[in-house]
């Protein structure tokens, strides 16, 4: 049997009666609960600071691809906006468009150029010329980013480089994973 606190036990119809001052009935909890949001604001502030540190004004120029593992480098510079030639172990790709098979390039090793790549880069250069035709002060810098898998042999990279050079892209940027200038400074001191 349940234990009941001693005191007045009026009939149920009087429990909510205002005549008795509402003191007899059981007090209801307030519906407005106060939530302490200060820890949440703290956490969000920390998140914003962390994400601001990760922020890059140049955006993502090179996209990491599943089949391309980049080598690491300590003394690289910040990447620039330029056409990207991606060389995986299977294919050569520019802006998502496959231009050559690495196996085919290995097969006809007698040639040095890659015609499809040359043509594609010439189109890019024409587009650049068209955009800058009213701006004679801007000189053609001929920058191209080469993003290759670390196991791709130089004979493939050499052909890509040659094709870039023929198309007018003579400033080559080899992409690498930046492993930090702090480590580089430490190694330079040794």
């Amino acid at each position: 049997m349940a234990i009941i606190q001693p005191g007045k036990r009026p009939a149920k119809r009087f429990e909510k009666s205002r005549i008795l001052g509402g003191k007899i009935g059981h007090g209801r909890k307030a519906t407005n609960a106060e939530l302490n949001v200060v820890p949440m604001v703290d956490m969000m502030t920390m998140l914003v600071i962390f994400l601001l540190q990760q922020f890059s004004a140049t955006g993502e120029v090179l996209y990491m691809q599943k089949d391309i593992r980049l080598p690491d480098a300590r003394h690289g510079q910040m990447i620039e906006q330029a056409p990207v030639v991606a060389i995986s172990s299977d294919q050569v790709v520019v802006a998502g468009q496959k231009l050559a098979d690495v196996a085919d390039l290995d097969r006809d090793a007698g040639y040095l150029n890659i015609p499809a790549l040359e043509e594609r880069l010439r189109e890019e250069k024409k587009r650049w010329d068209f955009i800058h035709q009213s701006d004679p002060g801007t000189k053609w810098d001929g920058i191209v980013n080469i993003q290759a898998d670390q196991k791709v042999p130089f004979r493939i990279v050499k052909r890509v480089m040659y094709s870039c050079g023929v198309a007018g892209y003579f400033n080559l940027n080899f992409a690498a994973l930046d492993i930090g200038s702090g480590a580089a400074a430490a190694s330079a001191e040794k």
Partner: protein, 165 residues
């Protein structure tokens, strides 16, 4: 005296309560702003830090120099990279940097530490020298080439030209 907070004043014909010192700040707009910031920053965050190693291609496509440049003391520094190791030639002097053998996957391991030491010695001997030609064999992987170029940049030889053998 700050001890009278909340104590009703005596006399004067009435009881007056002092204003509470605690002010409530509405943090909901701050949460809204922070939420927007987090969403924007998460969307635009770049998680992989990719850098570039700038090289020149020897021979093809580079523009001719337009202005007459003053003649410089030309010192040819060439680094040949191959399966057997590296060969550094500085003017008439030549240095061999043999490879460290093959790793577990059969790939040649280059002696990058030895190369860095040698390049730093060259740079200390010729402080004005900034250019180097890296000639790689066809079988050299892109990863090794990047590591070699990185070692050249670390030693202060910043004008790197790449060519085949």
């Amino acid at each position: 005296m700050g001890g009278g907070g909340g104590v009703p004043e005596q006399g004067g014909g009435g009881k007056r309560k002092k204003k509470a010192l605690d002010a409530v700040i509405n943090v909901v707009p701050a949460i809204d702003l922070l939420s927007c910031c987090i969403t924007f920053l998460l969307y635009t965050a770049v998680w992989t830090q990719i850098s570039r190693l700038q090289v020149q291609q020897l021979g093809t496509g580079a523009p001719e120099p337009t202005e007459a440049q003053p003649p410089q003391k030309a010192l040819a520094v060439t680094l040949a990279v191959g399966e057997r190791g590296m060969a550094l030639s500085v003017g008439d002097a030549a240095y061999e940097i043999p490879s460290l053998g093959r790793g577990g996957d059969g790939a040649v391991t280059q002696d990058l530490k030895g190369l860095s030491t040698r390049l730093r010695a060259v740079k200390s001997e010729y402080p004005d020298q900034a250019s180097i030609i890296v000639s790689a064999e066809d079988t050299v992987p892109y990863g090794d080439l990047v590591h070699v170029i990185d070692a050249c940049l670390a030693a202060g030889l910043v004008q790197v030209s790449v060519t085949g053998v």
